[in-house]
């Protein structure tokens, strides 16, 4: 009995550790300024809950528009990325494919040496992609990391299966689509999730490549609300002209808004996520 009670307390404590921060974020987003001031920043339970912070954020249509941009970029980017990564990983998983070794080395090279900010910008500019949604999608289309994970998975598929399909007259594309992909749902889910999270969270590339604020994705718009004031020291406070940062309730409302989509998708993909990660981790 005592053991059960202790277990219960420990479980409750662990749950509280996870739930309390979320509750604080949600409650603060619903609290009024007076209560936030009185508690020094975070509120555990709003005395007079209101939706003012959410109304302020959603006014003017900027956030709504950015949300649509983010969804568009994430969906299109993830689909294109999955297509590219799958095709490249599959070809690299089959021994003897055309230019197998040089292409594999090129992929590995990108894992070791990332392009600098300015070369990337100049490339995007030369390609005429500035102020285009493609500047958000194309640079991260074929991630070396994802290719390696998927390639490792494909290599584990028995060669006999593929040989059998070939004997039955299937070409490479048919083998990929009909034999390999149906067996690879877990790795597709995990790579897709990686891509989607990366596209969803990206803001820095949008800041560099998109001058038109109407094309900004959600994360960059939200960043303008939760800009890191702590980075501005005392001296910077007079320089900035006494701008008033958005109140804490608004910053927490932003957090809630940005959490919702990933929180909705994650539970459905989580089982694949863990499985896929393990596959990538132990096979190489």
């Amino acid at each position: 009995m005592i053991v059960r009670a202790v277990k219960g307390v420990v479980v409750a404590a662990c749950c509280a550790l996870v739930i309390l921060p979320f509750l604080a974020v949600l409650s603060t987003s619903l609290a009024d300024q007076a209560q936030v001031t009185a508690t020094g920043g975070y509120v555990l339970w709003p005395d007079r809950p209101n939706l003012d912070a959410y109304r302020a954020i959603l006014a003017g249509g900027v956030v709504t528009r950015a949300l649509l941009v983010s969804i568009g970029v994430t969906v299109a980017g993830t689909l294109l990325s999955l297509t590219c990564v799958t095709l490249l990983a599959y070809s690299l998983s089959r021994p003897g494919s055309l230019l197998h070794r040089p292409i594999l080395l090129t992929v590995l090279f990108t894992l070791l040496f990332a392009p600098g900010m300015i070369p990337m910008y100049l490339t995007i500019k030369q390609l005429g992609l500035l102020d285009s949604y493609w500047s958000l999608i194309l640079p991260g289309l074929a991630s070396g990391f994802q290719i390696i994970i998927m390639r490792a998975f494909f290599q584990e598929i028995p060669g006999e299966l593929i040989d059998a399909a070939r004997i039955d007259g299937a070409g490479e594309l048919r083998i990929l689509l009909r034999v390999v992909l149906p067996l690879s749902k877990a790795v597709i889910a995990v790579v897709g999730l990686f891509s989607a999270v990366a596209y969803w969270n990206a803001f820095f590339n949008a800041m560099l490549y998109l001058n038109d604020t109407e094309k900004w994705p959600l994360q960059l718009v939200l960043r303008t609300y939760v800009i890191d004031n702590s980075a501005l020291g005392v001296d910077a406070a007079d320089l900035s002209g006494g701008f008033l940062p958005p109140p804490q309730s608004m910053q927490m409302a932003i957090l809630v808004l940005s959490l919702i989509p990933i929180a909705i998708v994650y539970p459905f993909l989580q089982k694949h996520f863990a499985k896929g990660i393990l596959i990538g981790a132990v096979k190489g």
Partner: protein
């Protein structure tokens, strides 16, 4: 994945400045001689700073002084004056602008009536590219490296290779603004001399400043708490200040004097004769870090931390100091001068300032500088007129429009004060004040507060200690600022927290000197000797 992206970004930030140097170096070579010293008539002429002609268009309740005390208003002038009868940018077509922003992003021009009306009033299409202030240097670096400069661009004080970028890539404005020429732009002439100091490079004036007050950082106090405890908010010595801090601390009631050590070290330093960043004597520069008073100020702050006068999370913690000041958890907080109204308006508490027994330390009199892409003289003159329009002071209809939008649409006047409508709150967020702006003023706010602010400035500004290097340029100071500040900040934190003894400071100063401090000194001494 997100970790990988994060580290990649950090890497990019680290390599960014080097890459910019390389990239802009290539561009610079294309634009002129490759030697970095061979700027336009380097060393052969001295920049003639623009004349200071205070604008008399609007009469403030209390006028600005030549020393740098801000003008003050008790209320918004009932009838705003219209300063411009024409459209300053007529005929310019599209004007590309790059600047930073602190506000949330406003709706784009297509869906923003304020922006559309702005373009109509200017007679030009202002195409503003804005980046969050925290990311602005990255954005600016890439734009400069690409060589595709906008017509008007704000240059941060921390931008690497600022001098070269200005003198090689940007327009020399000397003909248009030096000396009396600036009178063509009456509101740029209305910007005090202190703010212009950072715009002169290699004998020319290459930018206009976004002005800030000379008064800088203030030690704000909760006057109500001081009165409640029967203390004196006017220390005559360090001991008085210590007594004030002790009197305001009451851990049992969750009350402490301070919430952050950095501002206290600087403040105590003013009582001990620590120079404002540098001291210049006979052409020789001494850093604030090298004087004995600085070490003593750190030691005294460490003693105050030990005595429990600081909030328990003050050292190494990340506190929301304004909220803690507002709810009375901390009673003294060093903050920018502009925070006075923010603190009083947001928290509805009695805010005062504690005047240091020593001379106050001047702030940086500009936020950043605004430069222009090389262009025909006529185009430059019109771009400057746009900036002049953007600098029209309080009391003009241009100012009211810039800050509040269209009356009836974006704001309504209530008891003589503009009240933004919900549309105003959403749309009037364009970062125009980070392109060009009028000098700040005190108020319009309740008379008692304006008087308190004005009295503080009148008391400290006449004896304020300016940074003698404010008008000088050091490449090392700009490029190594982050590294050097980190060395100092970490050491201060180690000492005040008790992790390291005060004697550790000597070693830190040696490190600071070796890693760039001495080079900055040499840069300043050379620049002063050359008269740059």
């Amino acid at each position: 994945m997100s970790d990988a992206r994060h580290s990649r970004r950090q890497f990019l930030q680290l390599t960014g400045s080097t890459a910019l140097l390389a990239a802009s170096g290539g561009l610079l070579t294309a634009c002129g001689p490759s030697s970095p010293q061979a700027g336009p008539q380097a060393g052969t002429r001295k920049a003639v700073m623009p004349a200071y002609v205070p604008s008399s268009l609007v009469k403030p309740d209390l006028p600005a002084t030549a020393e740098g005390v801000l003008a003050a208003y008790y209320s918004y002038p009932a009838e705003p004056v219209t300063a411009f009868t024409d459209k300053p940018g007529e005929g310019l077509g599209e004007v590309k602008v790059l600047t930073n922003m602190f506000n949330p992003v406003p709706p784009g021009a297509g869906a923003n009536r304020f922006w559309q009306e702005l373009n109509t009033r200017l007679g030009a299409t202002l195409n503003i590219t804005m980046a969050p202030a925290a990311d602005y240097v990255s954005k600016l670096s890439t734009v400069i490296a690409s060589g595709d400069l906008p017509d008007i661009l704000m240059l941060s004080a921390t931008l690497a290779n600022r001098s070269q970028i200005l003198t090689r890539l940007c327009a020399d404005l000397s003909d248009l603004v030096s000396g009396d020429a600036v009178k063509t732009y009456p509101f740029l002439a209305n910007i005090p001399r202190d703010s212009w100091l950072a715009t002169a490079y290699q004998g020319g004036v290459y930018a206009i400043p976004i002005p800030r007050a000379i008064v800088g950082t203030i030690m704000f106090a909760r006057s109500d708490l001081i009165a409640e405890r029967g203390l004196s908010g006017e220390p005559k010595s360090y001991d008085d200040f210590l007594a004030l801090a002790k009197g305001l601390t009451d851990p049992a009631r969750n009350r402490w004097a301070f919430g952050s050590a950095k501002g206290v070290i600087t403040y105590v330093g003013t009582m001990l004769g620590v120079p404002n960043t540098w001291r210049e004597q006979g052409g020789t520069f001494t850093s604030e870090h090298e004087v004995e008073g600085r070490k003593e100020a750190i030691a005294k702050t460490a003693e105050m931390v030990k005595a429990g006068l600081f909030h328990p999370d003050a050292i190494g913690g990340k506190l929301n100091l304004r909220d803690l000041f507002g709810n009375g958890t901390i009673a003294l907080n060093a903050d920018g001068y502009a925070a006075w109204d923010i603190l009083a308006d947001t928290y509805k508490v009695d805010v005062g300032a504690v005047v240091s027994p020593g001379p106050a330390r001047a702030g940086q009199a500009y936020f950043a500088i605004t430069a222009f892409k090389k262009a025909e003289r006529d185009r430059l003159a019109k771009l400057l007129r746009i900036c002049d329009w953007l600098s029209a002071p309080l009391g003009t209809s241009e100012y009211m429009f810039r800050k509040f939008g269209i009356e009836g649409t974006h704001y309504t006047m209530k008891d003589g004060t503009p009240e933004p409508t919900s549309l105003g709150k959403a749309e009037v967020k364009l970062p125009l004040e980070y392109i060009a702006d009028a000098p700040h003023v005190l108020g319009p706010r309740p008379r008692a507060r304006v008087h308190a602010q004005r009295a503080y400035q009148e008391r400290v500004v006449p004896t304020i200690v300016r940074n003698p290097a404010a008008a000088l340029y050091s490449e090392t100071a700009v490029n190594k600022n982050g590294t050097l500040a980190k060395i100092i900040d970490q050491a201060e934190l180690d000492i005040v927290s008790g992790r390291k003894p005060v004697s550790h400071w000597d070693e830190v100063v040696r490190q600071w000197r070796a890693q760039g401090g001495d080079q900055i000194r040499r840069d300043y001494e050379t620049a002063l000797a050359k008269g740059d």
